[in-house]
Amino acid sequence: MEIDPFIFRLSIFILSIFVGYYVVWSVTPSLHTPLMSVTNAISSVIIVGAIIAALAGSSTEIFSTSSIFGYIAIVLAAVNIFGGFLVTQRMLQMYKKKKDKKK
């Protein structure tokens, strides 16, 4: 009997929870705020769904209801991706500055 592909996805999901568990516990508490902003940014990978939905329309019908939702979701996710990564970068940069100064 063949295994349903859902089971494979579920396996990936469960294993990733474990990976996440161990990786996040090893994050130093002083970087918990950047951790939140970067997780925020990466969870916006949901943009792939938005892109698929937005590009679904044929050339005759670019703005179907479904693709409009896709378009809006792209904007929302893009704000998050750029905002999330850049603000993380900005914070992490501050952790560097002092180190250089100390040297």
Partner: protein, 467 residues
């Protein structure tokens, strides 16, 4: 157009890059590299999505324009936002992830063919369940984050809003969602799908309004977690590995942070969720009789004198310091003290800021070297050997009552052993209790000198007196 097998491999790679991004945060030295891994992972995921669709009609231009539009807004916010406002920013960003999840789920529901999920009205059962869960969690994340944002921003009062039967209503609505999803699977009716989303928006609001301002660090972490589960739900719908991995990572990350925050406040997760903390009037009343106890108060000159003659000083910053924008003045004071060969360290309680790790970022912004900053468990034994503890803008996290009085609402909460220092300088505007509504016993100790003033002004005055 690339094959779906190849794109699946690329999605896996971007998932791995996201894991490395989080892994990098284990130390400040590797963190920046980690962030680049994250950016690379995102880039791969987006490009592969474009390539896998192949059929690029005119809509591609719209997509790219919108991508750029969103990106510009995001970049603008990222550069403008002051570090004190990070909690609001993160809450706001969570709401966007939540709403994006809802919209993607709606798009998939209306046009399932493009996602290979069947046809409108005949969506595959598993996909339908996955997308409704994704949409529901996304909707809860969205409206909950909006409330958290409004509370943090001060647009809405931080006081908990409670009413009779609140928890029953939440329970009822939660069960309602499951029943509706069950019927949705039977009927494939769009109206039920809308109803599920609408109820989820309502639950998000109801879930967050009873939670008080003091518990906001838990709320933000919790919403972080939700946004991850929402992404994972959508990932299952779209059969996308990158999304599933990311969702699981973010979900567990948020859950761990919530756990750490709850532990730091000695509150059970459920008592936070059920809310109402911070409105406890009984504890506030019991303080009334204590107010007459004698308090020693001093001025900047006394403080400067004490610190100049110390050999080690531990600084205990709290959110009040950030509100007063005193971190730069504080750094100036520390520089002066260092010139006199005084050993300085900073003691940070896990809930010192408004979100996990917030105080560390604020100090980093003020150019405080991170190797002078210590977490509670690493520094607590040092207080007994230190000459002066300089408490600025913190309150509840220094209250020794948490160790002695089992009746106190904060009993059992891990606190900084500030009172063990030879002398304690406590910068505060008045003797009013902190968030928890509990009087701080530390004010009345013999070795405590209260400095009644605005944190920034007092620090600046001390700097002048150090010359």
């Amino acid at each position: 157009m690339i094959s779906s097998n190849l794109s699946a491999i690329f999605y896996l790679i971007s998932g791995i890059l996201f894991i490395l991004a989080l892994r990098g945060l284990s130390s400040p030295d590797t963190s920046r590299q980690g962030n680049y891994f994250g950016i690379a992972g995102m880039f791969i995921a987006v490009v592969v999505t474009f390539l896998s669709i192949g059929n690029l009609s005119t809509s591609l231009i719209y997509v790219l324009v919108l991508l750029l539009l969103g990106g510009t807004i995001g970049a603008f916010i990222a550069f403008k936002i002051p570090m004190t406002a990070m909690p609001e920013l993160v809450a706001g960003f969570h709401s966007l992830v939540g709403l994006a999840a809802v919209f993607v789920a709606v798009a998939a529901f209306l046009n399932p063919e493009v996602f290979n999920l069947g046809f409108f009205g005949e969506i595959k059962l598993a996909s339908l369940i996955e997308m409704s869960i994704g949409a529901a969690v996304g909707a809860i994340t969205f409206s909950g984050s909006i409330i958290a944002f409004l509370k943090l921003r001060g647009i809405m009062s931080g006081a908990p809003i409670t009413f009779l039967g609140q928890h029953y209503i939440n329970l009822f609505l939660g069960l309602g969602i499951f029943i509706l999803i069950f019927y949705l699977c039977k009927t494939q009716s769009a109206n039920i799908f809308w109803l599920v989303i609408a109820i989820s928006f309502l639950i998000g609001v109801l879930l967050i309004i009873p939670i008080g301002g003091a518990d906001m660090p838990v709320v933000i972490s919790m919403l972080n977690s939700y946004s991850g589960w929402a992404a994972a739900g959508i990932g299952f719908t779209l059969e996308n590995t990158a999304l599933i991995i990311t969702g699981a990572l973010v979900g567990s990350s948020g859950a761990i942070l919530s756990y750490i925050m709850c532990k730091a406040m000695n509150r059970s997760f459920f008592s936070v969720i059920l809310g109402g903390f911070g409105a406890d009037s009984s504890s506030a009343n019991s303080n009334a009789q204590k107010d007459k106890k004698p308090v020693k108060s001093g001025n900047a000159e006394d403080a400067a004198f004490l610190m100049k003659n110390a050999s080690s000083v531990i600084i205990v910053p709290g959110y009040g310091m950030a509100v007063a924008q005193a971190q730069h003045a504080l750094r100036e004071m520390v520089d002066k003290l260092k010139k006199n060969d005084i050993k300085i360290s900073y003691a940070i309680h896990p809930v010192a800021g408004r979100m996990p790790g917030h105080m560390n970022v604020l100090l980093a912004e003020a150019n405080v070297p991170y190797d002078e900053v210590f977490e509670l468990e690493d520094i607590n034994n040092d207080f007994a050997n230190a000459d002066v503890a300089f408490v600025i803008g913190a309150n509840d996290v220094t209250n020794p009552i948490a160790k002695t009085d089992p009746k106190s609402p904060i009993f059992g909460m891990p606190v900084l052993d500030v009172e063990k220092c030879k002398s304690v300088l406590f910068v505060k505007r008045s003797l009013s209790p902190g968030y928890a509504g509990v009087d701080n016993e530390l004010f009345y100790r013999d070795n405590t000198l209260m400095l009644f003033a605005d944190a920034k002004k007092m620090t600046e005055d001390i700097v002048k007196n150090l010359d």
